[in-house]
């Protein structure tokens, strides 16, 4: 359901909704669930593929926020699969791991995600965030006998 409010042509509505959602700049695009809750925000222009990836990310975030973790994980993994070169991809990869962990309680979901970040998106902030989940590398001294 696309809604557009224009800063000049719909000044009153722009001000009303801008205050409600704390919008400070244009363009700002919000993904809002049917209760009116903001689930994702894009500020500034993006190329088409990056923008579409952000929208998909927003829908997955909405599932996550409603504790629909399996659906959220599927959505996040689709973002990575369909938009691997966008900035949304490493963020989605991170949250896919969190969603799997939330759904399963298996901490291996987090360490697996950290391992994936060692192979791709290494320079992203999401890789740094995921690095704390990495299992310590086994050394000869710590390896089980």
């Amino acid at each position: 359901m696309p809604v557009r409010v224009h800063v000049r042509n719909q000044a009153d509505e722009f001000k009303r909704l801008g205050e409600r959602y704390g919008v400070q700049w244009t363009p700002t695009i919000l993904v809002i669930d049917s209760s009116g809750q903001e689930r994702h925000r894009v500020e500034g222009f993006l190329p088409v593929q990056d923008f579409l990836a952000q929208l998909e990310l927003g829908l997955a975030h909405s599932d996550f926020a409603r504790s629909k973790f399996a659906e959220a994980e599927r959505g996040y993994r689709e973002v990575v699969k369909r938009n691997p070169e966008t900035e949304a991809a490493p963020e989605a990869l991170y949250w896919a791991g969190v969603a799997r962990y939330k759904a399963s309680g298996d901490a291996g979901a987090l360490s697996d995600t950290a391992k994936q970040f060692q192979e791709r998106y290494q320079s992203s902030s999401w890789a740094k965030k995921a690095s704390v989940w990495a299992r310590p590398a086994q050394t000869a001294a710590s390896a089980p006998h």
Binding site: V3, R4, L30, V31
Partner: protein
């Protein structure tokens, strides 16, 4: 140039439709030429 998108101008109308169709609303705060 038309975008081909049927933009709604009232959020509340879109939210009502979103609730009935289990969809989300994309709200665009724009300054682009119309």
């Amino acid at each position: 140039m038309s975008s081909g998108i049927a933009w709604e101008s009232r959020l509340e109308t879109a939210l009502e439709r979103a609730r009935s169709e289990d969809k989300h609303v994309l709200l665009d705060f724009s300054a682009a030429p119309m």
